[in-house]
Amino acid sequence: MNFIDAHLLSLILFVPALAAVIILFVPAGENKLFRWFALAVSLIPLVLSLIVWFRFDANQPGFQFEEAYVWYPAIGSSLHLGVDGLSLTMVLLTTLLMPLGILASFSIHDRVKPYMMLFLFLETGMLGVFLALDLLIFFVFWEVGLVPMYFLINQWGSANRNYASLKFLIYTMGGSLGLLLAIQMLGVLFGTYDLLTLYQRWNSLNPANTLLGLPVHTVKTIAFWAFAIAFAIKVPIWPFHTWLPDAHTEAPTAGSMILAGVLLKLGAYGFLRLILPLYPAEAKIFAGVLAFLATAAIVFGALASYAQTDFKRLVAYSSVNHMGFVVLGIAAAGLASGTLDANIALNGAILQMFNHGLSAAGMFFLVGVIYERTHTRNLEEFGGLFPLVPIYGGILIFTSMASLGLPGLNGFISEFLVVRGSWPILTLYTVISMLGLLFTGAYILKGIKKVLHGPLNEHWAHGEHRLTEISTREILVMVPLIGLILWIGIWPAWILNVINKAVVMLF
């Protein structure tokens, strides 16, 4: 037990990758075994991260459960892990969605072995970003997570997968090129990548000095944008979002769940972990730009979503819309760092990350459930399905309402906190985004209407096309999501307590 206690974070991080390596040595063909093994293994990080969650002392400033190992001393990088309230929330979200994603993938029959391996590698990649306290390690995992996702989309995706996966990869890699260069510059300047050291030394640079022949503030501005664009593409912030609808739509169901549930959070997490602490001055100067883009994402995301006829694309654009609120909260916090309003906005942003993780994963899964049965995602081909699949319909409406932000469910809490916090700071943008919420309601109702209500499409009612009800396994995927959506909606204090203390201490 001592070993486990002392290495909780590295176990969370590396157990999935180790399991993937074990799968490698099992001969292919044992599909059932691979599925259950992957599911069982993905529960280990969940249990461990719950242990961390309960042992975590929210009142203590700084990082906890820190571990540091020698990795690449020649350039000053070490495998330094640690969690605070912010990263712990994200770790929990990841470890929670992973088993659900694997359970959702039980319907994959084609090449189960590599699929499960990639999925487990993906988990390690994403967790590494959240756990890293070393800038280079952060980047390492940031990049590594791309590869499994690329192949998941490229190999198990739907018709247009080649285009979507390459676009996803090139967009994200292109975005992280600036990040890479900026990280290299920081490394050359300070000879270390340790985040805690960098926070301190980068911010204490004398603005009157020059760096690389340029004034410090110019260098910082360029580096700020290098970071910001990399993360903006990942979030994605309008107008960098165009990879998202393609990737989400073409990915296999569980891939979309994780893509929307966790991968988008990596970008927002980058803003919170790196940009706000490293570039407080620049974040303040450019908060207006960010807020503008966030508002555009909210409004245009909702409008674009309304215009879709493909159910999955509709949900995909809703991610752009919802992640806009996260960025709005971040922009407000950048502009008025340290004030009460800013903290409220940040609380909302972080909670919104968690909430969107739950509801988007749920929505994508539900789209997948109906797609597996009908092999179409075209909204025009559905209609009036509620009587055929009452349980599915109920779950779909419930999850949609969470996404819409119905009071009593989780989305309402976080969006309310964001707009409450940013109202005094960015009043105009907040007003416009709240009007954007109207469109959110519109597209969600449109989705429900086209699928469940209206005249029944007789095609699905009889014979071999008779739509079957959601299965027990599929309900099992939804149960934890529904539970958390309700729980946070009714009594958010348990999670906000951790988030709020982290926010107060960090910013």
Partner: protein
């Protein structure tokens, strides 16, 4: 160290080559067996050298010195440092895997490996390997040059006899002339250095450790650095003298391409480092801007040219130009990070490109075409090779947790230390590389198998799998645990920095 391990490693291929030539021509399997045994022997010894190199003591180790032509100051003087030890290991690995994938099989209709005169093939290949080992371990400038020429010449025969029939005469001639011209120009510089060092110190010797202290004047170094460095760097594929390399790679049979891109290009870079930078450090400083310019062009332009290739092997050939450009870029920084990265990149690229050429060869042997648009669905036929190529591709893209990242990252750090703009420009190549690698993986390995290949193609052999696994292992180990190689290369870099005056 009493046990003359370096000479044994160096002369093992020569002895094996002679033994193979003594066999009757029709005893193909015996020739192959002798080759494999010798390759395994050399590999084990080079692994042993790698792990028994004392990193805390650093400097040149396993030193051996025998008089060869004392009146001219020439001796058979062997020793390895932190830069050359990994390269000896690399040569061992590529030799071993190269023999495995050339094994061939006379009983099957699949024309994989070398069936035509394997006896001569392995003999020439091993003479080449002899020269390569010799260059990496020589501490005597004359001997270095001697082995350098030995390594270049068998290339001509190997390409012209066993190469791709369409371009082999042209490519072999082009390659050999390019490299000979380069080395002759270097030789002129070497002779000049010999005379001036002799005049300065009164001792006429080719001993490089003594020549390091010969006190070449700044003017002398400024004049001779470029011919010496560039003459060797031609073999390293430096832009604008890279033109021979893709042609040569494409025309060569698989194992020779592996040797060529995997090891021979390192030979050029290594000789340029050892003779150019280490003996003429002030010249290196004076001209570093020009080398940086050439290298930066090679990195981006090479990647771009690779991007537009339709021939699979040409694509890999040009990607080598791009990646060797990174080695040269690291050299041009003349600082700790850049040189460290170059040292690592030489090993990393060697393993990676050997893997690339091996997989390309496996596909060509079966499909008889290398046109990317004509291929497809190879993952269904050869899943193992697919995984190998993907891992190589990730290394090539500089993906973290693989050796490429570990090597390229310090190179970029080094460039930041000199001229940040070059780092920014060179980084464009990362995206281009990602583009062509991913496009090719998708086109060649996934999708549907074209109808004309349906049922004709067979999976790779077990020997091929062993070769792929060996190469992949090194890329993954270095990526996950940089400590496997970084401290070793660091000791070599410290020595170079000392010569550069602690730059």
């Amino acid at each position: 160290m009493n046990f003359p391990v370096l000479s044994i490693i160096t002369f093992t291929p020569l002895v094996a080559a002679l033994l193979i030539l003594l066999l009757p021509a029709e005893r193909k399997n015996e020739a192959r067996a002798v080759a494999l045994a010798a390759a395994i022997f050399a590999l084990i010894l080079s692994i042993w050298v790698y792990f028994s190199y004392d990193q805390s003591a650093a400097g040149y180790q396993f030193i051996e010195k025998y008089n060869w032509l004392p009146m001219l100051g020439i001796s058979l003087y062997f020793g390895v440092d932190g830069i050359s030890t990994p390269l000896v290991l690399l040569t061992g690995v590529v030799m071993f895997t190269g023999v495995l994938i050339s094994w061939g099989d006379d009983n099957k209709h699949v024309m994989a490996g070398i069936q035509d005169r394997p006896r001569e093939f392995f003999a020439f290949l091993f003479i080449l390997a002899w020269g390569v080992f010799g260059v990496f371990v020589s501490l005597d400038l004359f001997m270095l040059f001697f082995f350098y020429e030995i390594a270049v010449f068998p290339m001509y025969l190997l390409i012209v006899i066993w190469g791709w029939a369409v371009t082999r005469e042209y490519a072999a001639m082009k390659l050999t002339l390019y490299l000979f011209i380069g080395s002759v120009i270097s030789l002129v510089g070497v002779i000049a250095m010999y005379w001036v060092a002799g005049q300065n110190t009164g001792v006429y010797t080719f001993d490089m450790l003594q020549m390091e202290n010969a006190g070449f004047s700044q003017a002398f170094q400024n004049i001779w650095y470029l011919p010496v460095f560039l003459g060797f760097a031609v073999l390293g594929g430096i832009w604008p003298f890279h033109n021979w390399s893709p042609d040569g790679h494409v025309a060569a049979p698989t194992a020779v391409s592996m040797f060529h891109a995997g090891v021979l290009m390192k030979l050029g870079a290594f000789a340029a480092l050892r003779v150019g930078i280490m003996l003429l450090p002030d010249g290196a400083k004076y001209w570093s801007w020009l080398i940086m310019l050439f290298a930066a062009v090679a990195v981006v332009y090479g990647a771009y040219i690779a991007f537009v290739q339709m021939d699979f092997k040409y694509m890999v050939g040009f990607s080598s130009v791009s990646h060797m450009g990174l080695v040269m870029l690291g050299f041009s920084t003349l600082n700790r990070e850049g040189l460290l990265g170059s040292g690592l990149q030489m090993f990393s690229h060697g393993v990676m490109t050997a893997l690339f050429f091996a997989v390309v060869g496996m596909i060509y042997d079966r499909a008889h075409t290398r046109q990317i648009p004509e291929l497809g669905g190879m993952s269904k036929i050869m899943p193992f090779a697919t995984v190998g190529f993907i891992i190589g591709g990730l290394v090539s893209m500089g993906m973290p947790l693989f050796s490429g990242f570990i090597a390229e990252f310090p190179i970029f750090l080094g460039v930041w230390g000199r001229q940040w703009l070059v780092a920014v420009i060179a980084s464009i190549s990362i995206i281009i590389t990602a583009g062509y690698i991913m496009r090719n993986i998708r086109q060649v390995f996934f999708g549907e198998v074209p109808e004309k290949f349906e049922g004709h193609l067979t999976d790779i052999t077990i020997l091929d799998k062993v070769a792929i696994t060996t190469l992949c292992l090194f890329m993954i180990i270095i990526g996950l645990f940089p400590g496997f190689m970084v401290p070793m290369v660091q000791t070599g870099v410290e020595n170079i920095l000392r010569l550069l005056g602690g730059a």
